[in-house]
């Protein structure tokens, strides 16, 4: 549970730090406490960004807890370390590329280059799909090698972690698909979607690197 705790400490510290930056320490009953003239309602009003940030916090909490469960379960006697399929390295590389591609798409969207946006979206989608297929092949390889979900807790965790990570990617793909559809329909309001998707992709890349690192090191 230490990992869960550390994660929380960070979450709460940033929350409190952020609150301190707000008007939280003023005496609200004193009129001078607030500079009303300069007070334009909260920030530059980007609800989707805020919502995404919150969602990422929730997902981080989720993964942090699985990881703490992993580390607790690992300490029990019957843990047989798993040799991860080599394929995972390739998959990791593909996912990194997907992230880079999204970043490229993002800058294209910022400079309103429609053609590059379309290309970028397609490439990202293909790379991400390749990653998912790669993960699936890794599953097949493992189970062919006799590592079934129930063989050992290390195996079970492998399937669990990769599976849940893949589900999160699929969730992202849904948003990606909608953005792509709109981009090809010529809509010009895809920039925000692409922004958010790119952040989400980077985030899932980091999550994957952490999970992969964890599995490699144990």
């Amino acid at each position: 549970m230490e990992i869960g705790l550390i994660f929380l400490a960070i979450m709460l510290a940033s929350l409190i730090g952020w609150l301190l930056k707000q008007t939280i320490n003023t005496q609200p009953w004193v009129a001078e406490g607030v500079d009303e003239a300069s007070y334009q309602a909260p920030y530059n009003a980007r609800p989707k960004t805020v919502a995404l940030a919150t969602l990422l916090a929730v997902i981080t909490s989720f993964f942090a807890l699985i990881v703490s469960a992993y580390s607790l379960r690992m300490e029990l006697g019957d843990w047989v370390p798993l040799t991860e399929p080599q394929l995972l390295w390739t998959n990791t590389a593909v996912l990194v590329l997907a992230s880079i591609a999204f970043q490229w798409t993002r800058s294209a969207a910022r400079s309103a280059n429609e053609q590059r946006v379309k290309t970028g979206l397609v490439i990202t989608g293909m790379l991400t799909t390749a990653f998912l297929i790669g993960q699936y092949i890794a599953w097949l390889q493992l189970s062919a090698a006799g590592h079934l979900v129930t063989t050992n807790p290390a195996d079970a965790f492998f399937y669990l972690l990769t599976g849940i990570h893949a589900l999160h990617i699929l969730g992202g793909m849904y948003v990606w698909a909608r953005a792509t559809k709109r981009a090809f329909a010529g809509s010009d309001s895809v920039e925000e979607s692409i922004q958010l998707c790119a952040v989400y992709w980077h985030f899932l890349l980091v999550v994957w690197l952490v999970l992969f690192g964890l599995m490699l090191s144990t």
Binding site: I16, P28, A31, N44, A51
Partner: protein, 587 residues
């Protein structure tokens, strides 16, 4: 972009202005309608849980009398009772119900930021409720593992519902978490992004603070439940061994190896303890507003109250193992968790003091909502103090898993927030429906609920002292218990049935008010916060008519010296009525 764009967005776009009955009341994206949907569903399942508690009490008070209660369904009853009350009633009602209704109105927004997501959240919640209720009717029945669902027992021989019951329960929890996350993202984003002009964080009413913090706790804590539900589901369905050690169950080997049941308990309580504050914080917030409004006095120590909410929220994540003192975890953890647990009493104590000090030198109207609010303080103090017994690791040794624990958490969770729920419903009833309720009926309802529940829960502590374990279908003959313990149990049952029956008063009141209620004044309590300043009562879609309100002061300008009225609404500009300090309200 300026603030108008977001807070006012719906008004400009009008893209989901409801046209037909269906879009207005069923597939509605209006936060007020969604709030009412959430509220009614939650109360409906709450009534089921109440009926279950009546059945449990019948068995405990009069064992060997009712043939429709056997050990199997008794354990199903307590499990479903606990689970429904905590999660499907209180969490849903406070956040989905009150959160939805109050957040946009109190911070001066037209709606939630993502109305579609909000609507989805309700329907997904309804789905989770349906799955939950379905588990009663599947072969083998609902799970009887206790609301804590501890493995191995939750999925092992000897417990009812180990086939479909537990699977549906875990599925329902998963779906609920999805619904909650959708709602939660909305509440957080709305509070952060859609406040009207001038509504700084520190000007928000405490109700919003409580709901906001509870939502954050929920967003961070529910994943723990989700993780444990997923892993237990895998243990159950495909025989992984996350939580399941090698065991011999009823003479047979089920085939698990090496897992850790304690791991589940850590995950569960990592969720479970914050959960109790998810239920408590909105109640804390709402009760502060009720007290202040009806005592005609500013809430005492607002800043301290906000900080206490944040501190309680933060601390609630590092006390979870106080539920596990006698669980067989490393006993040295006891030192740490006992200390953190008792520390959490300090910010909570401050809140209590500030509520009481708000009454001091107030001008107290004892209307129904106020009665409920003061009743809450009384029961909460009682329940909180018994929490200190349990938190002090040594005293938990004799008392853990006895009726003392049951008494503690009913005092603090089974009645205190429920009193706030009722108080809040009476308080905002005129705004929600535009009708007045019947004050006399309301008062009767209060007296019977308040005194009746105290008569249920106070004696339970003493059963616990004497050593009656919780989750016992029957005590049988024992040497260490006096026979009178059974009489006490019977008395508790009678009060419980009485209290359950008196809830009818509430529904009569609702019914009469809806049919023949007097038309309500837009601001019958002379309250300051924004929801009372809407142009229409009940507020129309979009809440604010043409212009969004502007906020010029905190929500507690009651009885400001030098100003004639004893309240100044938040949207009254400073040049008409300057905020308190300028008029010498110094202390």
């Amino acid at each position: 972009m300026s603030y108008v764009a977001i807070a006012d967005r719906d008004h400009e776009e009008e893209h989901h202005d409801p046209q037909t009955f269906i879009t207005k009341y069923v597939w509605s994206q209006d936060h007020k309608v969604i709030a009412i949907q959430y509220g009614c569903t939650a109360i409906f399942v709450g009534l089921i849980a109440l009926a279950l508690s009546a059945m449990m009490r019948l068995q405990l008070g009069f064992p060997d009398t009712f043939s429709f209660i056997n050990p199997e369904n008794y354990y199903q009853f307590i499990t479903m009772h606990g689970m429904i009350m905590v999660i499907y009633l209180l969490t849903a009602l406070f956040l989905g119900g009150f959160g939805n209704y109050l957040i946009p109105l109190m911070i001066g927004s037209r709606d939630m930021v993502f109305p579609y997501l909000n609507m989805l959240s309700y329907w997904v919640y309804l789905l989770s409720v349906i799955i939950l209720i379905a588990s009663f009717f599947v072969p083998g029945g609902a799970t009887g593992a206790g609301w804590t669902l501890y493995p191995p027992q939750a999925i092992m021989q000897g417990t009812p519902g180990i086939d479909l019951g537990i699977i549906l329960m875990l599925a329902s929890l998963g779906v609920f978490i999805v619904a909650f996350t959708m709602g939660g993202l909305n509440y957080v984003t709305t509070v952060l992004q859609a406040r009207c002009k001038g509504m700084t964080l520190m000007r928000m009413p405490l109700s919003i603070w409580g709901i906001f913090m509870a939502t954050i706790l929920g967003l961070l804590a529910f994943p723990a439940l989700l993780v444990s539900a997923i892993m237990m589901m895998l243990d159950k369905t495909i025989m992984t061994s996350f939580f399941m050690p090698a065991i011999s169950s009823m003479g047979a080997d089920p085939g698990y190896t090496g897992g850790s049941p304690i791991l589940f308990q850590h995950l569960f309580w990592f969720f479970g303890h914050p959960e109790v504050y998810i239920v408590a914080l909105p109640a804390f917030g709402i009760v502060s507003d009720l007290l202040s409004t009806h005592a005609r006095k500013n809430i005492f120590g607002y800043r301290m109250m906000v900080w206490a909410i944040i501190a309680i929220g933060g601390l609630s994540f590092i006390v979870w193992a106080h539920h596990m003192y006698v669980s067989g975890m490393n006993p040295y953890f006891g030192f740490f968790f006992a200390t953190t647990t008792l520390i959490i009493a300090v910010p909570t104590a401050l809140k209590v003091y500030n509520w009481v000090l708000t009454l001091w030198e107030g001008n107290i109207h004892l209307r129904t909502p106020m009665l409920f609010a003061i009743g809450f303080i009384f029961t909460f103090i009682h329940g909180g103090l018994t929490g200190l017994f349990l938190g002090n690791v040594t005293i938990d040794l004799p008392l853990s898993d006895t009726y003392f624990v049951v008494a503690h958490f009913h005092m603090v969770m089974g009645v205190s927030p429920i009193l706030v729920v009722f108080g809040a419903i009476y308080h905002w009833w005129p705004k929600i429906t535009g009708k007045m309720y019947n004050e006399t009926l309301g008062k009767w309802h209060f007296w019977m609920t308040f005194l009746g529940t105290y008569a249920i829960y106070l004696p339970m502590h003493y059963l616990g002292f004497a050593g009656v374990p919780r989750r016992y279908f029957a005590m049988g003959n024992t040497d260490f218990l006096p026979d009178s313990a059974q009489d006490l149990n019977a008395a508790i049952t009678i009060s419980a049935l009485f209290v359950a029956a008196t809830q009818i008063l509430f529904f009569i009141n609702v019914f009469i008010s809806l049919r023949n209620g007097k038309k309500a004044d837009p601001n019958p309590w002379d309250a300051t916060s924004l929801e009372w300043q809407t142009p229409d009562t009940p507020p129309k879609h979009g809440n604010w008519g043409h212009d969004l309100p502007e906020c010029h002061r905190w929500a507690y300008d009651y009885s400001v010296p030098g100003y004639d009225d004893d309240f100044i609404p938040q949207n009254v500009p400073a040049d008409i009525a300057p905020a308190g300090r300028d008029h010498g309200g110094e202390h």
